[in-house]
Amino acid sequence: MEIDLTLNDDDVTFEAARSDTLLDVLRDNGYTGAKRGCDTGNCGFCTVIVDGEPVKSCIRPASQLEGADVETIESLGTQDDLGPVQSAFVDNAALQCGFCIPGMIMRSKVLLEETPNPDEAEIRDALSENLCRCTGYEKIIDAVQDASTRMSGEADVAADGGYPDGDDAGCGCGYPDGGCGK
């Protein structure tokens, strides 16, 4: 069957089998940022945004997507020009193996659009359907808080991504401010 949808602001038509999920269709067409972690909707690695809502694409049948507006990690910034959530994840070292990160970023993006200044409990609640095995979530929570600050325009962000200014100016590596080049 053919499915017409809007993908990252482009009108596209995808060929799909009846049993295909949104994740299957995305990955078959080169949008491999969404990862396959469980195929049962329990890990969140495949999270994308459908009509403004975070959706686990591995359990969303492709057949239900006619006319949908789908956003994937590929729609955010490029490596030369990262979006605020992406750069916050980079600058807070909020990633290790990275397999959960595209889904985690898409989930965070929706949170911050709906709740621009979430407190820690709100962040923890919003991300609770996206698993991460590497980080213990600590730096991910920091990153989302930092992204919130950046998106509110309250912080200057260095052109290279840099380290966010805060109470602990400098990068915390033990050097005087700027001593390590950060």
């Binding site: 490596q79 070292a93 290790q96 213990g136 590596c173």
Partner: protein, 817 residues
Amino acid sequence: MSKTNEPNTDETDEERTADTSKVEEANPVEWDEAPNNRKEPTERRVVSHREEKDDAKKIVTGEAKYAADYAREFPNLAEAKIVRSDIAHGVVTDIDTSAAAAMDDVYAVVTPDSPEVPNKPYTSAGQSYPEPSPWDLRVLRRRVRFVGDPIAAVVAEDKDTASKAARKLDVSYEEYDAVFDTAEATKPEAPQIHDPDEVENHQPGADYERNVEANVSGEIGDVDAAFAEAEERDDLTVIETEWETPYQSHCVPEPHTTIAHRDEDNRHHLISSTQVPYHTRRQLSHLFDVPVKDIQVSKPRIGAGFGSKQGMHTEPIAMALAEAADRPVMVETTRREQFHAVRNRRPARVTLRSVVTDDGNLRALDMDAVTNSGAYGPHGMTVSSAVGKKPLPLYTHTPNIRFEATAVHTNLPVAGAFRGYGAPQGHLAVEGHMDEIAHELDLDPIELRSRNVISEGDLDVASGILKDKEYGRRIRSCGLDECIAEGRAAIGWDDIEQPDADHLHRACGMALTIQSSGVPGDELGAAHIKMNEDGSFILQTGAVDIGPGADTVMAQIAAEVLGVPPADVLVQPSDTDISPFDHGAYASSTTYITGQAVKKAAEDARGMLFEFASRMLDEPESALTVEEEAVVSEVTGESVSLEEIGYESMYGDEVRAHVMGDASHCTEESPPPFGAQFVDVTVNEETGEFEIHDMVYAVDCGVALNPDLVEGQVEGAMHMSYELATGDGIVFDEEGQPETLGFRDYDMPTTADQPPMTSIIVETHEPTGPFGAKSVAEIPVNGVPPALSNAVRRAVGVRVGDLPITPEKIKAALDDD
């Protein structure tokens, strides 16, 4: 790897005592440290800075490519489904593949009889050669030993078709009695799981008639005499405790995935999610009887390993299927397979007996561990050994120590390598036991430990307890005292306030931790670095970055030596055709072993830079140094940029030579990192429910080469350690059928239920490590189970020693009181 199985005779005991001075002499405190290895914080330009992870940007844009992301590069790629045993124990009497094979778009159905499927015994364990694991596996099996044993595989146009075809296989079994408990499995009447004649490379102490995969033991001093003395004397106390841990899943984000195909040179090429590309290449070569030169294993980005990818799980089937289907094949495991058919942390039962003086000095430790290997033996002997030999060095001053480990087969899933490698099971016993001693003697648990624990300058002999020769490891860096002091302050050990409600009780518990940095005298890391015209470098190492950031740390080490920013050192991912040899990402070895090879290779290249600069500046090499992307004369202050040297070296008039460096590193040293875990908990004595207020871990990993990455290791490992302490692990019904089939059934903490964590880095300097570094990736996984068990004990007076620690168990123990 050597070990003793025979009980120590009095004669050997005498030898041990007599030889201590020789061991002391062979491991002097002094270490001939390489020049410029020790740098003050202000002298470090790149190392110990929070440099950005080199793959961070491509991860956040979704461009980082993992094994399955390469599928699109193979237009005629076929996909596979592995057919697994439905029963726990028996034999496949017949497989009718005709209906599946007749389906459209099915390219091949393979069984143990298929010519493409090797029928040699091998081990999946990705270890040094010859592997210290029994060769007891076959790629596909008629004789099945657990629910999940692979018996056939289907390869088809796509995964759905392969799965449909797999369901059409008609499999008949003859079922055997099964056994699921290690105590039952060693009884004479228990069903025998392996025929010893079908297993090669038996490990020490193997007794397959009793389902014993391996049995090892060792002794320092005379433990029996110490216990006999304790019976006679009032001032000596004997304490005995028992501990138990369950199956734990790695929960690797990226399921094990392999793409296998023949390249344009007709060689076998595998793109695989592996921690051990070189071991895998060698093992595939032996298994398929294909020359090493005809196999290439490429490691793309890896969605974490934690030990689960320290072995071959999908590679042999993928390679066989690619031959059978005569086209590229991808084998991508399902999450269900991840939980019960791949690998897990082995359950263990540990008993620990001690003799201690009234003032808290340890006189004897007698530790016995029985672990559950499940159906096969990869890593069985070595992990079981580590249950004792990893944590016991904390108390190496104990004059009499004995340890015995037995790895037992059952008809449950296969245990393998898992972050910590036996140390978490051992730490629960050792560090839980220390608190029981403290309680019995009415001593502060920290004070008790301080009286007995290892410190800098000491000789550790306990880590060699299973070796059949005298062995000692000199401790050249140890920050335990500071870890304890900082952790104690951060958790608020000395000023816990009790809640107002009478039924709530708050307390802190703690545990010390120790690990190693690589397998001493075994692991080999190598590196090659070459300069581009613009003064940047390409670094090739066998270091296998599986997520923690090894490539970034390697770049930092090279950049520190060469005077360039780390972004000017491009690290190529491990690939057996390109990278120098490396044993792989395991045993907490990468930074310590491969990092030292990288440092030496960079120094080698720097020597060539100085040769060119000496000619170009007309200065002696001895006057030269590197800084700010240039070689500078310390005498005249004149400099020549690396770019100028780059062009001169390639296109100059005088001497043309590519600026390169290479080096290998292998060492008998394996310095332990140290750490102190603290947990602050409030327990409800009416319900057994508990709330963790904070988990603090202070770690001494030498010089933290990248504090961001070190904190990431500590926090991620504490998360796993907490889950081991409180999660149900993997559970089975009475037929051996797994009841944990997905994340939904498994207690992996989410953002909503992960308790708060605090990580603290305590810097020491390890003279044998690159720029003073030791390992950090595994050690923080050891601490939460004993620290939480100890905290609960201190809060409400009951001990939960069998994991998981649950409100139900606390309540039951309180009711028994």
